[in-house]
Protein backbone atom coordinates (compact mmCIF):
# COMPACT_ATOMS: atom_id res chain seq x y z
CA UNK A 1 0.00 0.00 0.00
CA UNK A 2 2.92 2.29 0.69
CA UNK A 3 3.90 2.58 -3.00
CA UNK A 4 0.24 3.30 -3.83
CA UNK A 5 0.19 6.22 -1.45
CA UNK A 6 3.47 7.53 -2.83
CA UNK A 7 2.00 7.34 -6.35
CA UNK A 8 -1.03 9.33 -5.21
CA UNK A 9 1.24 11.95 -3.67
CA UNK A 10 3.20 12.17 -6.92
CA UNK A 11 -0.06 12.43 -8.88
CA UNK A 12 -1.02 15.43 -6.75
CA UNK A 13 2.27 17.25 -6.32
CA UNK A 14 3.91 16.89 -9.73
CA UNK A 15 0.85 18.54 -11.34
CA UNK A 16 0.99 21.36 -8.77
CA UNK A 17 4.62 22.06 -9.68
CA UNK A 18 3.93 21.63 -13.39
CA UNK A 19 1.05 24.13 -13.22
CA UNK A 20 3.44 26.63 -11.60
CA UNK A 21 5.86 26.06 -14.47
CA UNK A 22 3.11 26.37 -17.11
CA UNK A 23 2.06 29.73 -15.66
CA UNK A 24 5.52 31.03 -16.66
CA UNK A 25 5.20 29.84 -20.27
CA UNK A 26 3.16 30.62 -23.37
CA UNK A 27 1.80 27.05 -23.51
CA UNK A 28 -1.23 26.54 -25.74
CA UNK A 29 -1.55 22.82 -25.10
CA UNK A 30 -0.03 21.82 -28.43
CA UNK A 31 3.33 23.45 -29.14
CA UNK A 32 6.37 23.19 -26.87
CA UNK A 33 5.92 25.75 -24.08
CA UNK A 34 8.28 28.74 -24.26
CA UNK A 35 9.43 30.47 -21.06
CA UNK A 36 7.94 33.98 -20.83
CA UNK A 37 8.62 34.94 -17.21
CA UNK A 38 5.76 36.68 -15.45
CA UNK A 39 4.09 37.78 -18.69
CA UNK A 40 0.94 35.74 -17.98
CA UNK A 41 0.50 37.43 -14.62
CA UNK A 42 0.87 40.85 -16.23
CA UNK A 43 -1.67 39.87 -18.89
CA UNK A 44 -3.98 38.48 -16.23
CA UNK A 45 -4.05 41.60 -14.06
CA UNK A 46 -4.61 43.84 -17.07
CA UNK A 47 -7.33 41.60 -18.52
CA UNK A 48 -10.76 43.22 -17.93
CA UNK A 49 -12.50 39.82 -17.85
CA UNK A 50 -10.16 38.64 -15.09
CA UNK A 51 -10.83 41.78 -13.04
CA UNK A 52 -14.60 41.33 -13.50
CA UNK A 53 -14.20 37.69 -12.50
CA UNK A 54 -12.24 38.72 -9.39
CA UNK A 55 -14.98 41.17 -8.44
CA UNK A 56 -17.69 38.54 -9.03
CA UNK A 57 -15.82 36.03 -6.88
CA UNK A 58 -15.65 38.63 -4.09
CA UNK A 59 -19.43 39.13 -4.44
CA UNK A 60 -19.86 35.35 -4.22
CA UNK A 61 -17.84 35.18 -1.00
CA UNK A 62 -19.71 38.05 0.66
CA UNK A 63 -23.10 36.85 -0.60
CA UNK A 64 -22.43 33.29 0.59
CA UNK A 65 -21.48 34.62 4.02
CA UNK A 66 -24.59 36.75 4.40
CA UNK A 67 -27.39 34.61 3.00
CA UNK A 68 -26.65 30.90 3.56
CA UNK A 69 -24.86 31.43 6.86
CA UNK A 70 -27.44 33.91 8.15
CA UNK A 71 -30.54 31.99 7.10
CA UNK A 72 -28.89 28.68 8.07
CA UNK A 73 -28.40 29.98 11.59
CA UNK A 74 -31.99 31.30 11.64
CA UNK A 75 -33.39 27.91 10.60
CA UNK A 76 -31.23 26.08 13.14
CA UNK A 77 -32.15 28.48 15.97
CA UNK A 78 -35.88 28.57 15.20
CA UNK A 79 -36.21 24.81 14.84
CA UNK A 80 -33.97 23.85 17.76
CA UNK A 81 -35.90 22.11 20.51
CA UNK A 82 -39.24 22.32 18.67
CA UNK A 83 -41.49 19.30 18.43
CA UNK A 84 -41.46 17.99 14.82
CA UNK A 85 -38.28 19.99 14.16
CA UNK A 86 -37.05 17.22 11.84
CA UNK A 87 -40.08 17.57 9.58
CA UNK A 88 -39.80 21.36 9.46
CA UNK A 89 -36.15 21.05 8.40
CA UNK A 90 -36.83 18.72 5.46
CA UNK A 91 -37.54 21.50 2.90
CA UNK A 92 -34.08 22.93 3.56
CA UNK A 93 -32.34 19.55 3.34
CA UNK A 94 -33.85 18.36 0.04
CA UNK A 95 -31.88 20.87 -2.11
CA UNK A 96 -28.63 19.75 -0.51
CA UNK A 97 -28.99 16.35 -2.14
CA UNK A 98 -29.13 17.92 -5.62
CA UNK A 99 -26.03 18.44 -7.74
CA UNK A 100 -24.87 21.88 -8.82
CA UNK A 101 -25.77 21.01 -12.41
CA UNK A 102 -29.33 19.92 -11.53
CA UNK A 103 -29.78 23.15 -9.57
CA UNK A 104 -28.47 25.14 -12.52
CA UNK A 105 -31.00 23.42 -14.81
CA UNK A 106 -33.92 24.11 -12.44
CA UNK A 107 -32.98 27.74 -11.84
CA UNK A 108 -32.36 28.38 -15.52
CA UNK A 109 -35.96 27.29 -16.01
CA UNK A 110 -37.13 29.63 -13.23
CA UNK A 111 -35.02 32.65 -14.18
CA UNK A 112 -35.05 32.61 -17.97
CA UNK A 113 -36.78 35.51 -19.72
CA UNK A 114 -40.52 34.94 -19.32
CA UNK A 115 -39.74 32.03 -16.96
CA UNK A 116 -41.51 30.95 -13.80
CA UNK A 117 -40.31 33.92 -11.72
CA UNK A 118 -41.33 36.49 -14.31
CA UNK A 119 -44.75 34.85 -14.64
CA UNK A 120 -45.28 34.83 -10.88
CA UNK A 121 -44.31 38.51 -10.64
CA UNK A 122 -46.65 39.41 -13.52
CA UNK A 123 -49.49 37.42 -11.92
CA UNK A 124 -49.01 39.23 -8.61
CA UNK A 125 -48.70 42.60 -10.41
CA UNK A 126 -45.27 43.11 -8.90
CA UNK A 127 -42.48 44.97 -10.69
CA UNK A 128 -39.69 42.99 -12.35
CA UNK A 129 -41.74 40.74 -14.65
CA UNK A 130 -39.69 41.86 -17.62
CA UNK A 131 -36.31 41.76 -15.92
CA UNK A 132 -33.64 39.78 -17.76
CA UNK A 133 -32.34 38.07 -14.64
CA UNK A 134 -29.43 36.23 -16.21
CA UNK A 135 -28.28 38.76 -18.77
CA UNK A 136 -27.37 41.84 -16.73
CA UNK A 137 -24.38 42.15 -14.39
CA UNK A 138 -24.20 42.11 -11.43
CA UNK A 139 -27.84 40.97 -11.24
CA UNK A 140 -26.98 37.58 -12.79
CA UNK A 141 -24.29 36.95 -10.19
CA UNK A 142 -26.69 37.88 -7.40
CA UNK A 143 -29.49 35.58 -8.57
CA UNK A 144 -26.98 32.74 -9.00
CA UNK A 145 -25.82 33.30 -5.42
CA UNK A 146 -29.48 33.02 -4.38
CA UNK A 147 -29.75 29.74 -6.32
CA UNK A 148 -26.64 28.45 -4.60
CA UNK A 149 -27.97 29.65 -1.23
CA UNK A 150 -31.15 27.71 -1.83
CA UNK A 151 -28.95 24.62 -1.83
CA UNK A 152 -26.45 25.56 0.88
CA UNK A 153 -28.68 26.57 3.78
CA UNK A 154 -29.56 23.02 4.82
CA UNK A 155 -25.94 22.03 5.44
CA UNK A 156 -25.21 25.17 7.43
CA UNK A 157 -28.37 24.65 9.48
CA UNK A 158 -27.28 21.07 10.27
CA UNK A 159 -23.83 22.27 11.36
CA UNK A 160 -25.36 24.96 13.58
CA UNK A 161 -27.76 22.40 15.08
CA UNK A 162 -24.81 20.18 16.01
CA UNK A 163 -23.29 23.27 17.66
CA UNK A 164 -26.50 24.16 19.52
CA UNK A 165 -26.75 20.59 20.81
CA UNK A 166 -23.29 20.82 22.31
CA UNK A 167 -24.00 24.02 24.29
CA UNK A 168 -24.25 23.13 27.99
CA UNK A 169 -27.72 23.72 29.45
CA UNK A 170 -26.73 25.12 32.86
CA UNK A 171 -25.39 28.57 31.90
CA UNK A 172 -28.42 29.11 29.66
CA UNK A 173 -30.78 28.23 32.51
CA UNK A 174 -28.87 30.53 34.84
CA UNK A 175 -29.13 33.39 32.32
CA UNK A 176 -32.84 32.74 31.92
CA UNK A 177 -33.39 32.85 35.67
CA UNK A 178 -31.50 36.14 35.72
CA UNK A 179 -34.09 37.46 33.29
CA UNK A 180 -32.26 37.21 29.95
CA UNK A 181 -34.43 36.10 27.08
CA UNK A 182 -34.99 36.39 23.34
CA UNK A 183 -32.49 38.59 21.53
CA UNK A 184 -30.44 39.28 24.66
CA UNK A 185 -30.05 35.57 25.42
CA UNK A 186 -29.00 34.95 21.82
CA UNK A 187 -26.42 37.73 21.49
CA UNK A 188 -24.79 37.42 24.89
CA UNK A 189 -24.96 33.66 25.50
CA UNK A 190 -25.76 31.48 22.50
CA UNK A 191 -23.78 33.32 19.81
CA UNK A 192 -20.48 33.26 21.78
CA UNK A 193 -20.99 29.61 22.74
CA UNK A 194 -21.69 28.70 19.09
CA UNK A 195 -18.29 29.96 18.00
CA UNK A 196 -16.77 26.55 17.12
CA UNK A 197 -19.65 25.85 14.71
CA UNK A 198 -19.55 29.37 13.31
CA UNK A 199 -15.86 29.00 12.54
CA UNK A 200 -16.48 25.80 10.57
CA UNK A 201 -19.49 27.18 8.70
CA UNK A 202 -17.79 30.47 7.82
CA UNK A 203 -14.56 28.72 6.82
CA UNK A 204 -16.37 26.21 4.59
CA UNK A 205 -18.51 28.95 3.05
CA UNK A 206 -15.51 31.12 2.15
CA UNK A 207 -13.47 28.25 0.69
CA UNK A 208 -16.37 26.78 -1.26
CA UNK A 209 -17.56 30.11 -2.63
CA UNK A 210 -14.03 30.93 -3.83
CA UNK A 211 -14.12 27.72 -5.88
CA UNK A 212 -17.59 28.35 -7.38
CA UNK A 213 -17.87 26.68 -10.79
CA UNK A 214 -20.80 24.29 -11.36
CA UNK A 215 -23.75 26.65 -11.01
CA UNK A 216 -22.19 29.47 -13.05
CA UNK A 217 -20.99 27.16 -15.83
CA UNK A 218 -24.43 25.51 -15.99
CA UNK A 219 -26.51 28.70 -15.89
CA UNK A 220 -24.64 31.40 -17.82
CA UNK A 221 -21.29 29.81 -18.84
CA UNK A 222 -19.91 32.99 -17.31
CA UNK A 223 -21.65 35.12 -19.90
CA UNK A 224 -22.99 37.09 -21.54
CA UNK A 225 -19.58 38.36 -22.67
CA UNK A 226 -17.83 36.96 -19.59
CA UNK A 227 -19.58 39.35 -17.17
CA UNK A 228 -20.69 36.66 -14.70
CA UNK A 229 -17.50 34.58 -14.55
CA UNK A 230 -15.95 33.50 -11.28
CA UNK A 231 -12.25 32.63 -10.94
CA UNK A 232 -13.02 28.92 -11.38
CA UNK A 233 -14.91 29.60 -14.62
CA UNK A 234 -12.25 32.02 -15.89
CA UNK A 235 -9.56 29.40 -15.37
CA UNK A 236 -11.64 26.84 -17.30
CA UNK A 237 -12.49 29.26 -20.12
CA UNK A 238 -8.94 30.60 -20.56
CA UNK A 239 -7.42 27.13 -20.55
CA UNK A 240 -9.85 24.84 -22.28
CA UNK A 241 -11.95 27.19 -24.42
CA UNK A 242 -9.29 29.71 -25.53
CA UNK A 243 -6.33 27.26 -25.34
CA UNK A 244 -4.29 29.80 -23.33
CA UNK A 245 -2.84 27.20 -20.98
CA UNK A 246 -0.21 29.54 -19.56
CA UNK A 247 -2.77 32.20 -18.69
CA UNK A 248 -5.17 29.57 -17.31
CA UNK A 249 -2.39 28.20 -15.12
CA UNK A 250 -1.70 31.71 -13.79
CA UNK A 251 -5.40 32.09 -12.88
CA UNK A 252 -5.29 28.65 -11.21
CA UNK A 253 -2.31 29.74 -9.12
CA UNK A 254 -3.98 32.97 -8.10
CA UNK A 255 -7.12 31.03 -7.12
CA UNK A 256 -5.01 28.55 -5.15
CA UNK A 257 -3.14 31.24 -3.22
CA UNK A 258 -6.38 32.96 -2.24
CA UNK A 259 -8.05 29.66 -1.28
CA UNK A 260 -5.11 28.40 0.76
CA UNK A 261 -4.85 31.75 2.55
CA UNK A 262 -8.55 31.58 3.39
CA UNK A 263 -8.21 27.97 4.54
CA UNK A 264 -5.40 28.53 7.00
CA UNK A 265 -7.44 29.89 9.88
CA UNK A 266 -10.14 27.32 9.55
CA UNK A 267 -7.79 24.37 8.98
CA UNK A 268 -5.92 25.14 12.18
CA UNK A 269 -9.22 24.72 13.92
CA UNK A 270 -9.95 21.48 12.03
CA UNK A 271 -6.61 19.90 12.84
CA UNK A 272 -7.20 20.82 16.48
CA UNK A 273 -10.57 19.05 16.34
CA UNK A 274 -8.84 16.02 14.87
CA UNK A 275 -6.53 15.80 17.84
CA UNK A 276 -9.15 15.91 20.57
CA UNK A 277 -12.91 16.01 20.30
CA UNK A 278 -13.13 15.25 16.56
CA UNK A 279 -12.24 11.62 16.94
CA UNK A 280 -14.94 11.28 19.56
CA UNK A 281 -17.50 12.63 17.13
CA UNK A 282 -16.68 9.99 14.55
CA UNK A 283 -16.78 7.23 17.15
CA UNK A 284 -20.42 8.05 17.86
CA UNK A 285 -21.30 7.47 14.22
Amino acid sequence: MGPGVVLVLLAMYIPVVYTMYLSLTDSNGLDTPRFVGFQNYVTMFSDPSFLVSLMNTAIWVVGTLIIPVGVGLLVAYLSFGLKWAGIFRIPFLIPYALSGVAIGVVFNFILQNGGALSQALAFLHLPGAHTHWLEVAPLNTIVMILASSWQGIGVNALLFIVGLQSIPKEPLEAARIDGANGWRLFTSMIWPLLRPSTTIVVGLSIVNSLKTFDIVETMTQGGPNRVSETLGVTMYTDTFQSSQYGLGAAVAIFLTIVTVAASVLYLRRQLAIGDSSGSGKVTEA
Binding site: A11, T19, G104, F109, I110, A116, K211, A252, L255
Partner: protein, 272 residues
Protein backbone atom coordinates in the same frame (compact mmCIF):
# COMPACT_ATOMS: atom_id res chain seq x y z
CA UNK B 1 -46.06 30.07 24.05
CA UNK B 2 -46.59 32.81 21.48
CA UNK B 3 -42.93 32.73 20.54
CA UNK B 4 -43.25 28.97 19.93
CA UNK B 5 -46.15 29.55 17.54
CA UNK B 6 -44.21 32.33 15.82
CA UNK B 7 -41.25 29.97 15.32
CA UNK B 8 -43.51 27.38 13.68
CA UNK B 9 -45.07 30.04 11.43
CA UNK B 10 -41.74 31.54 10.30
CA UNK B 11 -40.23 28.09 9.70
CA UNK B 12 -43.35 26.96 7.83
CA UNK B 13 -43.43 29.97 5.52
CA UNK B 14 -39.70 29.76 4.86
CA UNK B 15 -40.03 26.02 4.24
CA UNK B 16 -42.86 26.49 1.71
CA UNK B 17 -40.78 29.11 -0.08
CA UNK B 18 -37.91 26.60 -0.17
CA UNK B 19 -40.14 23.94 -1.71
CA UNK B 20 -41.29 26.17 -4.62
CA UNK B 21 -38.36 25.27 -6.94
CA UNK B 22 -38.98 21.58 -6.17
CA UNK B 23 -42.66 22.08 -7.02
CA UNK B 24 -41.76 23.76 -10.31
CA UNK B 25 -39.37 20.92 -11.12
CA UNK B 26 -41.99 18.23 -10.43
CA UNK B 27 -44.87 20.12 -12.09
CA UNK B 28 -43.03 20.78 -15.32
CA UNK B 29 -41.32 17.39 -15.48
CA UNK B 30 -44.86 15.98 -15.59
CA UNK B 31 -46.16 17.91 -18.58
CA UNK B 32 -45.87 16.58 -22.07
CA UNK B 33 -44.06 18.71 -24.62
CA UNK B 34 -47.39 19.24 -26.35
CA UNK B 35 -49.12 20.43 -23.18
CA UNK B 36 -46.14 22.52 -22.20
CA UNK B 37 -46.79 26.12 -22.96
CA UNK B 38 -44.44 28.87 -21.99
CA UNK B 39 -47.18 30.77 -20.18
CA UNK B 40 -48.45 28.01 -17.86
CA UNK B 41 -45.37 27.13 -15.85
CA UNK B 42 -47.09 27.10 -12.44
CA UNK B 43 -49.93 24.67 -13.29
CA UNK B 44 -49.68 21.05 -12.17
CA UNK B 45 -48.83 18.23 -14.56
CA UNK B 46 -49.98 14.61 -14.65
CA UNK B 47 -48.38 11.22 -14.09
CA UNK B 48 -48.99 10.01 -17.64
CA UNK B 49 -46.98 12.87 -19.10
CA UNK B 50 -44.24 12.31 -16.51
CA UNK B 51 -43.96 8.69 -17.56
CA UNK B 52 -43.80 9.80 -21.20
CA UNK B 53 -40.91 12.13 -20.32
CA UNK B 54 -39.09 9.36 -18.45
CA UNK B 55 -39.41 7.16 -21.53
CA UNK B 56 -38.13 10.05 -23.66
CA UNK B 57 -35.10 10.50 -21.38
CA UNK B 58 -34.29 6.81 -21.73
CA UNK B 59 -34.91 6.51 -25.46
CA UNK B 60 -33.90 9.85 -26.98
CA UNK B 61 -31.02 11.14 -24.81
CA UNK B 62 -27.63 9.75 -23.79
CA UNK B 63 -28.45 10.16 -20.08
CA UNK B 64 -29.07 6.43 -19.37
CA UNK B 65 -25.53 5.49 -20.46
CA UNK B 66 -24.21 8.32 -18.28
CA UNK B 67 -26.14 7.00 -15.29
CA UNK B 68 -24.35 3.66 -15.62
CA UNK B 69 -20.94 5.31 -15.97
CA UNK B 70 -21.59 7.61 -13.00
CA UNK B 71 -22.67 4.63 -10.89
CA UNK B 72 -19.38 2.85 -11.62
CA UNK B 73 -17.34 5.95 -10.67
CA UNK B 74 -19.39 6.68 -7.55
CA UNK B 75 -18.94 3.14 -6.20
CA UNK B 76 -15.44 2.08 -7.25
CA UNK B 77 -13.41 5.28 -6.67
CA UNK B 78 -14.69 5.93 -3.11
CA UNK B 79 -14.03 2.27 -2.15
CA UNK B 80 -10.42 2.56 -3.34
CA UNK B 81 -10.00 5.92 -1.59
CA UNK B 82 -11.50 4.69 1.68
CA UNK B 83 -9.25 1.62 1.84
CA UNK B 84 -6.09 3.56 0.90
CA UNK B 85 -7.09 6.31 3.35
CA UNK B 86 -7.48 3.74 6.13
CA UNK B 87 -4.00 2.41 5.29
CA UNK B 88 -2.52 5.89 5.60
CA UNK B 89 -4.28 6.53 8.90
CA UNK B 90 -3.23 3.12 10.25
CA UNK B 91 0.40 3.59 9.24
CA UNK B 92 0.60 7.07 10.74
CA UNK B 93 -1.25 6.53 14.01
CA UNK B 94 -0.98 2.83 14.87
CA UNK B 95 2.34 1.86 13.30
CA UNK B 96 3.83 5.26 14.24
CA UNK B 97 5.46 5.52 10.84
CA UNK B 98 8.71 7.48 10.86
CA UNK B 99 7.95 11.11 9.98
CA UNK B 100 4.30 10.01 10.02
CA UNK B 101 2.93 13.49 10.58
CA UNK B 102 4.90 14.83 7.62
CA UNK B 103 3.45 12.15 5.37
CA UNK B 104 -0.03 12.78 6.69
CA UNK B 105 0.40 16.53 6.26
CA UNK B 106 1.47 16.03 2.63
CA UNK B 107 -1.61 13.94 1.92
CA UNK B 108 -3.83 16.32 3.87
CA UNK B 109 -2.70 19.37 1.89
CA UNK B 110 -4.41 17.71 -1.06
CA UNK B 111 -7.75 18.75 0.43
CA UNK B 112 -6.67 22.40 0.37
CA UNK B 113 -5.62 22.80 -3.26
CA UNK B 114 -8.44 23.61 -5.64
CA UNK B 115 -8.78 21.05 -8.44
CA UNK B 116 -7.93 23.84 -10.90
CA UNK B 117 -4.35 23.65 -9.65
CA UNK B 118 -3.90 20.08 -10.89
CA UNK B 119 -6.30 19.66 -13.76
CA UNK B 120 -4.19 21.01 -16.65
CA UNK B 121 -1.37 18.47 -16.14
CA UNK B 122 -3.92 15.70 -15.57
CA UNK B 123 -5.55 16.64 -18.87
CA UNK B 124 -2.22 16.62 -20.76
CA UNK B 125 -1.07 13.42 -19.04
CA UNK B 126 -4.27 11.52 -19.78
CA UNK B 127 -4.25 12.73 -23.38
CA UNK B 128 -0.65 11.53 -23.83
CA UNK B 129 -1.15 8.13 -22.19
CA UNK B 130 -4.49 7.25 -23.76
CA UNK B 131 -6.30 7.56 -20.42
CA UNK B 132 -8.33 10.55 -21.64
CA UNK B 133 -12.04 9.74 -21.85
CA UNK B 134 -11.57 6.23 -20.42
CA UNK B 135 -13.39 4.73 -17.44
CA UNK B 136 -10.13 3.49 -15.91
CA UNK B 137 -8.57 6.96 -16.20
CA UNK B 138 -11.52 8.61 -14.46
CA UNK B 139 -11.56 6.02 -11.65
CA UNK B 140 -7.87 6.72 -11.02
CA UNK B 141 -8.44 10.50 -10.95
CA UNK B 142 -11.48 10.30 -8.66
CA UNK B 143 -9.61 7.96 -6.28
CA UNK B 144 -6.72 10.42 -6.10
CA UNK B 145 -9.01 13.37 -5.42
CA UNK B 146 -10.95 11.45 -2.76
CA UNK B 147 -7.91 10.03 -0.92
CA UNK B 148 -6.79 13.06 1.15
CA UNK B 149 -10.16 13.57 2.81
CA UNK B 150 -10.53 9.88 3.56
CA UNK B 151 -7.00 9.71 5.01
CA UNK B 152 -7.84 12.75 7.16
CA UNK B 153 -10.98 11.19 8.62
CA UNK B 154 -9.45 7.74 9.15
CA UNK B 155 -6.40 9.20 10.89
CA UNK B 156 -8.67 11.13 13.25
CA UNK B 157 -10.70 8.01 13.86
CA UNK B 158 -7.68 5.83 14.68
CA UNK B 159 -6.39 8.37 17.20
CA UNK B 160 -9.53 7.51 19.19
CA UNK B 161 -8.65 3.80 19.44
CA UNK B 162 -6.57 2.85 22.47
CA UNK B 163 -2.97 1.76 21.87
CA UNK B 164 -3.53 -1.24 24.12
CA UNK B 165 -5.71 -2.79 21.40
CA UNK B 166 -2.67 -2.96 19.11
CA UNK B 167 -0.33 -4.13 21.88
CA UNK B 168 -2.70 -6.91 22.96
CA UNK B 169 -2.99 -8.13 19.38
CA UNK B 170 0.79 -8.17 18.98
CA UNK B 171 1.18 -10.15 22.21
CA UNK B 172 -1.38 -12.63 20.85
CA UNK B 173 0.90 -13.11 17.85
CA UNK B 174 -1.13 -11.40 15.10
CA UNK B 175 0.87 -9.80 12.29
CA UNK B 176 0.34 -6.22 11.17
CA UNK B 177 -1.80 -7.09 8.13
CA UNK B 178 -4.05 -9.28 10.25
CA UNK B 179 -4.39 -6.59 12.91
CA UNK B 180 -5.37 -4.07 10.24
CA UNK B 181 -7.91 -6.22 8.40
CA UNK B 182 -9.36 -8.19 11.32
CA UNK B 183 -9.33 -5.61 14.12
CA UNK B 184 -8.96 -2.03 12.92
CA UNK B 185 -11.09 -2.16 9.76
CA UNK B 186 -14.07 -3.85 11.49
CA UNK B 187 -13.81 -1.39 14.39
CA UNK B 188 -14.02 1.57 12.05
CA UNK B 189 -16.99 0.51 9.90
CA UNK B 190 -18.97 3.62 10.82
CA UNK B 191 -16.18 6.02 9.82
CA UNK B 192 -15.58 4.06 6.60
CA UNK B 193 -19.29 4.36 5.77
CA UNK B 194 -19.34 8.13 6.44
CA UNK B 195 -16.38 8.68 4.15
CA UNK B 196 -17.80 6.40 1.46
CA UNK B 197 -21.17 8.19 1.43
CA UNK B 198 -19.64 11.67 1.27
CA UNK B 199 -17.20 10.72 -1.48
CA UNK B 200 -19.78 8.78 -3.51
CA UNK B 201 -22.04 11.85 -3.46
CA UNK B 202 -19.16 14.08 -4.47
CA UNK B 203 -18.13 11.85 -7.38
CA UNK B 204 -21.73 11.47 -8.58
CA UNK B 205 -22.24 15.25 -8.56
CA UNK B 206 -18.84 16.15 -10.04
CA UNK B 207 -18.99 18.46 -13.05
CA UNK B 208 -15.58 20.15 -13.41
CA UNK B 209 -13.37 17.05 -13.74
CA UNK B 210 -15.75 15.13 -15.96
CA UNK B 211 -16.23 18.15 -18.22
CA UNK B 212 -12.47 18.44 -18.75
CA UNK B 213 -11.34 14.81 -18.76
CA UNK B 214 -14.10 13.06 -20.72
CA UNK B 215 -15.78 13.51 -24.05
CA UNK B 216 -18.08 10.62 -24.97
CA UNK B 217 -17.48 7.03 -23.92
CA UNK B 218 -16.42 7.75 -20.32
CA UNK B 219 -18.67 10.78 -19.78
CA UNK B 220 -20.75 10.58 -16.58
CA UNK B 221 -24.18 12.02 -16.17
CA UNK B 222 -23.65 15.64 -15.02
CA UNK B 223 -22.01 17.04 -18.17
CA UNK B 224 -24.56 15.11 -20.22
CA UNK B 225 -27.40 16.73 -18.26
CA UNK B 226 -25.82 20.15 -18.78
CA UNK B 227 -25.59 19.52 -22.52
CA UNK B 228 -29.34 18.79 -22.71
CA UNK B 229 -29.94 22.50 -22.06
CA UNK B 230 -28.25 23.44 -25.32
CA UNK B 231 -30.77 24.62 -27.87
CA UNK B 232 -28.34 24.33 -30.75
CA UNK B 233 -29.35 21.38 -32.88
CA UNK B 234 -32.69 21.31 -31.03
CA UNK B 235 -32.36 20.17 -27.44
CA UNK B 236 -34.95 17.75 -26.07
CA UNK B 237 -37.10 20.58 -24.68
CA UNK B 238 -37.57 21.78 -21.14
CA UNK B 239 -39.95 19.06 -19.93
CA UNK B 240 -37.54 16.25 -20.83
CA UNK B 241 -34.50 18.17 -19.52
CA UNK B 242 -36.23 18.77 -16.17
CA UNK B 243 -37.22 15.11 -15.99
CA UNK B 244 -33.59 14.16 -16.59
CA UNK B 245 -32.50 16.59 -13.82
CA UNK B 246 -34.98 14.90 -11.50
CA UNK B 247 -33.82 11.38 -12.44
CA UNK B 248 -30.12 12.08 -11.92
CA UNK B 249 -30.90 13.56 -8.50
CA UNK B 250 -32.77 10.50 -7.19
CA UNK B 251 -29.71 8.35 -6.27
CA UNK B 252 -28.01 11.05 -4.18
CA UNK B 253 -31.30 12.24 -2.68
CA UNK B 254 -32.17 8.67 -1.62
CA UNK B 255 -28.68 8.07 -0.25
CA UNK B 256 -28.91 11.34 1.68
CA UNK B 257 -32.36 10.72 3.15
CA UNK B 258 -31.55 7.16 4.23
CA UNK B 259 -28.23 8.06 5.77
CA UNK B 260 -28.98 11.51 7.15
CA UNK B 261 -27.45 10.69 10.51
CA UNK B 262 -24.19 9.65 8.87
CA UNK B 263 -24.21 12.85 6.84
CA UNK B 264 -24.65 14.96 9.94
CA UNK B 265 -21.65 13.26 11.55
CA UNK B 266 -19.60 13.62 8.40
CA UNK B 267 -20.48 17.27 7.89
CA UNK B 268 -18.63 18.30 11.00
CA UNK B 269 -15.53 16.83 9.37
CA UNK B 270 -15.53 19.52 6.73
CA UNK B 271 -15.11 19.66 2.97
CA UNK B 272 -18.86 19.51 2.28
Amino acid sequence: MISRVARYVVLGILGLLWLLPIYLLLANASKSNAEFSGSQLWTTGNLGAFWGNVVDVFTTTNVPGGLGVSAVYAVVAPVIAVILGACVGFAVIVLKLKHGFTWFFLVFCGTVFPIQMMVIPWFSFSANTGLYDTIVGMIIIYSIVALPFSAFVMRNFFTGISESVFEAAVVDGANVWRIFTRIYLPMSTSALVVVFILQATWVWNDFLLSLILTQTSARPVMPLLNALQSTEGGGPGYTVTLTAALLVSIPTAALFLFTQKFFQKGLALGQY
